[in-house]
Symmetry: C2
Subunit: 334 residues, 2 copies
């Protein structure tokens, strides 16, 4: 099993942003030193009440600290961009990393972002679908002619290809059943979301595998999961430290209407203990090992990416979780 | 006077792109060590017959080697993007560098790029103008409502501001008189192009200053010029090394119809000696000092950025030019 670190590149606007960025670099160096394989950066625009560093320049800078690691966008809001733009930006990042990138993409769910970037929210699914198809073909290096509803290319061929052959992997994030089926059809993997409970994910992962089988596509070799995580030497400390940040975050999600995008029957409007159950990994190292082993047994995950930080959490706490995951959890799961 | 290095991030597609990228990092480290102040990365899509690394991830990675230096896009093809996208990407880069970025923007001139990215070439001027206005307002941190022909924003406020206050400088590249007047109106500086002769630039710089005066804008404090440059210990070596690469490059420009965008009366269809005169800096260090002193005297330039590499030029030649510029040319001009 591989471990990944999702950079929590969002901060309070009145904070020292450059200092926070340097802390992310320190997190990356530690994660690499204790055996993590992947660094992820995600994307939002207009991320009030927090800032949110854009993933492409962030991963460019991170690459200097992440020799030998894989860098992934987890995720880019693909409908907001021209496919050729994303194809060449990510190809550049693939060159920078010597061929160690994963393109994770998602629909997004905030109308505010879409409209401010000139995209009709209703067109998101179409733009995501066409975008993935076009990027894949551009990366293969062939001349692309494409007459879509949203994008038109005539005999377009990019000379700037990724280093990886045939191309970097494309992983699709999805919350709903329709999104999971889309991931099965279009992507190399379904990037399983951290918001749903184990029961929901288990059901949807079966749907993912079935959909691929029905389409005659090969079984996905990557089964990646993202989890919110705080690990301390003792469980009570982990819980006390995690609770205020995760409560605040999931309240913010509700304000962003993120829970409208959840699988049917799920909600974030729960007491913390219920919200955490089968959803977050919070506890001592032994508890984290047990939880992860359970996810692995039930889902056959190949990679687990951790979000270990929320705006305002002290760097020492973040580094401790990373260190304990690498030193006391990962060795028990290899 | 400050010296800048423009990364020639274009290479033959069958070359080892990751190795070429590492060479750029070596160039940056040397430039920093010998006293250069700024690193520039420019932009093209579909840059056949060469590859072309995208500037945002490139500068993100370069930042790790460029502590204390300023990083600039020289240029981004602004009409191809949503202003909010550029505002937040560059704000992130400004955070990464601790507040040391310059946003250089230009119109672009290749229909192939515009159409492949869904932009009507006829809308470029309008999109550039609106884009600069919107980015400037977003960076100031105020809620932006903007009803343009190309972009519409309603009460949009980004929490991810650049570190620099009030905002990073915005420099406009321009070739034509109309473009120079636009730079005077919209920009903090005119990024003077390397293609025109000294006489043309001198005339247009007067137009730039006059236009600002007429508009009641303050005199520009930055007068930046870009030059193609090869320096060797002896002039004959510099000329012999520069000639094949610069000849090939300016032939490629003609194929891209770049010379249609030149000031009136200029053409690239010239024998090499004429093309080089008053246009390139090619020679021994003494010759380079004389040439630069002449540009400084006639134009009052504050910053000179050098392009010292073209596809296929050996890294040793590139490094030698950087070293001689820093060690034998810059000290005579301070």
């Amino acid at each position: 099993m591989k471990f990944g670190l999702g950079l929590a590149a969002q901060h309070r606007p009145d904070d020292d942003q450059a200092a926070r960025f340097r802390e992310h670099l320190e997190q990356v160096r530690l994660a690499r030193a204790v055996g993590f394989s992947t660094i992820w950066a995600s994307q939002h625009f207009l991320a009030q009440p927090f800032t949110y560093f854009q993933p492409i320049p962030t991963l460019g800078r991170v690459a200097a600290e992440a020799e030998g690691m894989t860098l992934g966008t987890g995720i880019i809001l693909l409908p907001l961009f021209q496919p050729l733009d994303v194809a060449e930006q990510m190809a550049t990042l693939d060159v920078i990393t010597g061929g160690r990138t994963i393109l994770g993409v998602g629909l997004g769910y905030r109308d505010e972002e879409n409209t401010a970037l000139g995209v009709d929210p209703k067109s998101r699914v179409g733009r995501l679908t066409e975008g993935v198809e076009i990027i894949e073909r551009l990366w293969m290096g062939e001349p692309v002619t494409y007459e879509g509803r949203h994008y038109t290319l005539r005999d377009v061929r990019t000379s700037l290809r990724p280093v990886q052959r045939p191309r970097p992997r494309i992983w699709l994030a999805a919350n709903t059943d329709a999104g999971v089926k889309r991931a099965a059809k279009l992507g190399d993997a379904w990037l399983m979301n951290p918001h749903s409970t184990l029961a929901s994910i288990e059901r949807q992962l079966a749907l993912f595998h079935e959909t691929r089988r029905a389409l005659g596509r090969p079984r996905a070799t990557d089964i990646p999961l993202i989890k919110e995580c705080v690990v301390a030497e003792d469980a009570a400390t982990a819980l006390a430290e995690a609770r205020p940040f995760l409560e605040a975050k999931y309240k913010a999600y509700q304000q962003w209407n993120q829970d409208d995008a959840l699988p049917k029957g799920e909600t974030f409007d729960l007491p913390f203990e219920e919200l955490a159950r089968d959803r977050f990994i919070v506890g001592d190292p032994a508890r984290a090992v047990d939880e992860i082993a359970r996810y692995r047994e039930r889902l056959r995950i190949t990679e687990l990416s951790f979000r270990v930080q929320w705006p305002g959490m002290p760097q020492a706490t973040v580094l401790r979780t990373i260190r304990l995951l690498g030193e006391k959890v990962l060795p028990k799961l290899r």
